[in-house]
């Protein structure tokens, strides 16, 4: 496993303006994420964990500072270039799974591949493989409402890895799950980092979940401490 830096954040600030009032959420923080590591981000509510995650994931833009991913400064990318970049580099796991309710598990997993040039048969094959990795090959044709929360989150993980991204971001992926399902998800994330060399950044409130990560970052008052 190489120890090269996947994500390098320098001097990152984020200031929200609300009714003329400025709210400084992140103030000049630095963060490095090494390739193939599973890292957790903790901190009190409102400390800016999601804000940081969103900026690293190219969903939001910093007020100042740089975010380099594989040496590329993503804050310079245009809106549409950023969308393409996300589809190639990132996998997303959300607290409330965010599956399309009208699509089956397989169709949901296939979604990111619709932005590639792959043909239908190849897309289906890859989606099936991703579902097999999360242990849901028996549930391919089920709709989200026919699955348990834990199963839905596993489908979401399959969707996050189907385009083989370098980085996976997860904002409280176990927040809505019971202990057993949460453990299954965490085991899966560990495996993705170890076996598939994914760089994973997970926001969590749960110390048990954070313990499973290789490294824990703590965010408070706009700054990080490890």
């Amino acid at each position: 496993m190489s120890e090269s830096t996947m994500v390098r954040v320098r001097g990152l600030s984020k200031i929200y303006e609300r009714g003329g009032e400025q709210l400084k959420v992140l103030s000049g923080l630095d963060l490095d994420l090494a390739e193939g590591t599973f890292e957790a981000l903790m901190g009190p509510s409102g400390s800016g964990k999601s804000t940081l995650l969103n900026i690293i994931a190219g969903l939001d833009r910093p007020s100042s500072g740089t975010v380099e991913v594989k040496g590329e400064d993503i804050s310079r990318l245009s809106e549409s270039a950023l969308a393409t970049w996300r589809s190639r580099t990132l996998g997303f796991i959300f607290q409330s799974y965010n599956l399309m309710p009208v699509l089956t598990a397989l169709e949901n997993v296939e979604l990111p591949l619709l932005l590639t040039k792959l043909g239908g048969a190849e897309r289906k094959k890859r989606a099936e493989i991703a579902l097999r990795i999360v242990g849901l090959e028996q549930r391919m044709d089920h709709y989200p409402r026919q699955l348990s929360g834990g199963q839905e989150q596993r489908v979401a993980i399959a969707r996050a890895i189907v385009n083989d991204p370098a980085i996976i971001v997860a904002d409280e992926p176990t927040g809505d799950l019971d202990r057993q399902s949460a453990d299954d998800i965490l085991t899966l994330l560990e495996k993705l980092a170890k076996d598939m060399n994914k760089t994973i950044l997970m926001v969590t409130h749960d110390p048990v979940a954070a313990d499973r990560a290789t490294k824990v970052h703590r965010l408070d008052k706009g700054a990080l401490s490890s």
Binding site: S50, N54, A57, L59, D60, E79, S80, A83, T84, W85, R86, S87, R88, F92, F94, S96, N98, M100, P101, V102, L103, E107, L111, P112, L114, L115, R159, D171
Partner: protein, 387 residues
């Protein structure tokens, strides 16, 4: 691309709102398609009996047979003109007829309505090969026997085979057959012997029009020049097809315009309905759309997907409205003909062009109604996925 089934199933998942929106669109398309079908039906009815190789001769300045009148002796003169086709025995093929309106009592609802009465010579049926007697038999020449057009059958007192009615007081005629002619306006007429009509209604020695069969449609100009050359006679020659087109023009334009105006105003309502539905649908799917954006789907694909969604929704409605309009073909519609003030019965005529046009109209409503909501969907931030 965002898979089409995503939008299709999203529509189907919201059954109640989808049905309500589609119903609004269906109503508009129904109104539009019905008006166009009625207009087509009017054109067909009034224009069906026309032939390019028939010329119709009337008094100059009379735009309808009803207003035209000239001497019987001119019939021979007209038919002797160059270009008129002749039968095996060398006799020119043509008919001189008297046209009048009769005020008759309607069956069922009280009131008097005008009916077209055509006084025809013995050869009238032979002159029009598409016309035939479908029930009963042809009248004997020179008798008091009449044919009743299929569409008038049973609408007036005495209009059944074997019954009789009065041309005027104490002048009774008996119905011996029913006339059918491929849906033309002859089906809204009563045909009686030309002499019976003349003597019965005081038109001795007069005809309203002469129809002449030409050797070919190309002979029309020569025939017209010859017949119109004698200004003293004061004849005007028109091709039968042109004549009938002119008769139907006014009514069908009126119906088309009326239907289009109603459909236009309804369509504004239906479009607003579609817009509200789409806005609601998009508002409740903010997180879904944000997720698509986070996964990397560009704005334009979101825009296209939601435009498509609204278009499909409208096409559902359009298809429903068009289907209901097609069912109107089983309805017949009686209307006063403005040129003769007599009753003509029309049917709705669904044509592929009308159905296609109705669906295109529904599609246009979907695109215009869905545009603003689709733009809003395209502007959803990917951060919405995290909320």
């Amino acid at each position: 691309m965002i898979p089409f089934r995503y939008n299709l199933r999203s529509i189907l998942a919201r059954k109640a709102t989808t049905a309500a929106t589609a119903f609004g669109i269906a109503l508009v398309v129904f109104v539009l398609a019905s008006a166009l079908m009625l207009s087509a039906g009017i054109k067909k009815t009034l224009g069906a009996s026309g032939r390019a190789d028939n010329a119709i001769v009337m008094r100059t300045g009379s735009d309808a047979e009803l207003n035209s009148s000239f001497d019987t002796t001119s019939v021979g003169l007209v038919l002797a003109a160059p270009g008129v086709k002749r039968d095996d025995k060398g006799a020119p093929i043509g008919v001189g007829e008297v046209v009048l309106v009769l005020a008759l009592e309607k069956l069922g609802d009280p009131g008097i309505t005008n009916v077209f009465l055509r006084g025809v010579p013995e050869t009238a049926l032979a002159f029009r090969p598409s016309a035939r007697v479908v029930s009963g038999r042809a009248p004997r020449p020179g008798s008091d026997e009449v044919l009743v057009g299929k569409r008038l059958r049973g609408r007036f007192k005495g209009f059944e085979v074997g019954q009789s009615f009065e041309l005027r007081k104490n002048r009774s005629v008996s119905v011996v057959g029913i006339l059918e002619d491929e849906g033309s306006s002859y089906e809204s007429e009563v045909w009686a012997d030309v002499d019976t009509v003349r003597t019965g209604l005081g038109r001795e020695g007069l005809v309203s029009s002469v129809r002449a069969r030409l050797e070919s449609p190309a002979k029309f100009d020569a025939f017209k020049a010859s017949v119109e050359s004698d200004k003293n006679l004061g004849f005007e020659v028109t091709r039968e097809t042109t004549f009938l087109e002119k008769q139907s023009e006014g009514v069908s334009i009126f119906v088309t315009a009326l239907g289009s105006v109603i459909a236009f105003f309804f369509s504004i309502g239906a479009m607003i309905g579609a817009m509200i539905t789409m806005y609601g649908s998009i508002a409740s799917r903010q997180r879904e759309i944000g997720t698509l954006r986070a996964l990397g789907f560009p704005r334009w694909q979101i825009l296209v997907a939601f435009l498509l969604e609204c278009s499909v929704l409208s096409l559902f409605g359009g298809a429903l409205g068009a289907a209901a309009a097609i069912a109107m073909r089983f309805v017949s519609f009686s209307m006063i003909n403005f040129t003769s003030w007599s009753e003509i019965v029309f049917t709705f005529e669904p044509t592929p062009a009308i159905l296609l046009m109705s669906l295109m109209f529904a599609l246009a409503m979907g695109v215009f109604g869905g545009l603003l909501p689709a733009i809003r969907a395209a502007r959803v931030s990917p951060i919405q996925a995290m909320r």
